[in-house]
Symmetry: C2
Subunit: 196 residues, 2 copies
DNA sequence: ACAGATAAAAATGTATACAAAAATACTTTT
DNA sequence: AAAAGTATTTTTGTATACATTTTTATCTGT
């Protein structure tokens, strides 16, 4: 998640067990879970690796986020309480701090969205959406770095909360979709032009 | 997938290792992967279990399928070749056989859809959609059993292929969405009334 | 110099043994 | 009889050792 391990090269169980000071068994456990979640892919027939970043994956993640989060948000909307909005606003304040790691920022971003989705009470849908958001963290460096997306994102988040408070469902839905789609377009556009 | 193991009760590693004649390590490996994929959930603080069937999960799976498969299908449409349609039709013929297991039927059903989605060339989206389809297999017994959905589904599949062949994109898209949504509604409606 | 076959090395897969944690059974107390 | 605390048993977590597979290096022939 934080880019500490190299992409594209095989991760060796022995290396990892040495690095983290445990035997190979818990390392294997982690690798298996991570592979099932899409964080790792096979490297030939022996070993796994962190997949390279690519614009198609980023675009897919954001397209899926747009569709599924709007669905979830719609289910949640009528049940969103003042308390939920308050909680979400709390995460927004935390996000304003300068010295946050990318991973921390991603986690807070997800918690903000999730605070609103909670009201939907749809565990399965929520679990999938959470997976997509977590995956997207891999690309966060591009958004908050070169793209200078931070303050824009914050403003949009605040605007979304106000639309919720004014109970304007359709406007809020449209706004959320546009918020996600815009981030996705910006990101995949950027990645397409930097084919590193 | 085939309902051979009980839902709602903890699966013990020792039992499973005896059942399959291997040590606990490969059992643990399997449990970890399956949990990450959503096939298993925690049972208290020790152990995992197969989650109970519930209409909300079924509904969510079909709602997500509808959104994401339509997205994928749209991306694929213009690249679908005669060969893809031919392949899909092959799976349809296999599906016509009477003595298939539910799991086999589910696998063929997925392969039919997947044959069409392949043309999209969107690995990430495809992987998520595959996961949703595989999960839905758990509920297949209800569709093909009490609901008598089999022949209807077959007809819809054939109709979809003809819409593809006539290059009528919008009609095909609408038809696919309706095909999935209808199956989902039927299923979740049925599950709601049987709260066993 | 290159392709294919073969041998050595390295890596993953699995079994067993033990440690830590959790669940259960059993007291004891109120 | 119910609740709380304690002891026992069960279950999962981890380390080590070995087997199997895969990869890499070496050799051979053209």
């Amino acid at each position: 998640m934080n880019g500490e391990l190299p992409r594209g090269v095989p991760l060796r169980q022995a290396e990892l067990s040495a690095r983290y000071g445990v035997s190979r068994i818990p390392v294997r456990d982690a690798l298996l879970s991570l592979r099932a979640e899409g964080w790792l892919v096979a490297h030939g027939k022996a070993g796994v690796m962190i997949p390279d970043l690519n614009w198609k994956e980023a675009e897919d993640l954001y397209l899926m986020r747009a569709e599924l989060e709007c669905l979830l948000f719609e289910m949640a909307f009528d049940n969103i309480q003042e308390e939920n909005v308050k909680e979400a606003r709390g995460f927004l304040i935390d996000l304003d701090h300068e010295n946050l790691t990318l991973v921390g920022r991603g986690e807070l971003n997800w918690q903000f969205h999730n605070a609103l989705y909670q009201a939907a009470n749809r565990p399965t849908l929520q679990r999938v959406v959470e997976g997509l958001n977590k995956q997207a963290v891999r690309y966060l460096g591009f958004q908050y770095g070169p793209l200078g997306y931070r303050s824009k994102s914050q403003n949009q988040h605040e605007a979304l909360l106000r639309l919720i408070e004014s109970k304007n469902k359709q406007a809020a839905l449209d706004y959320l979709r546009q918020h996600i789609e815009q981030a996705g377009k910006l990101l995949s556009q950027y990645l397409k032009n930097i084919p590193a």
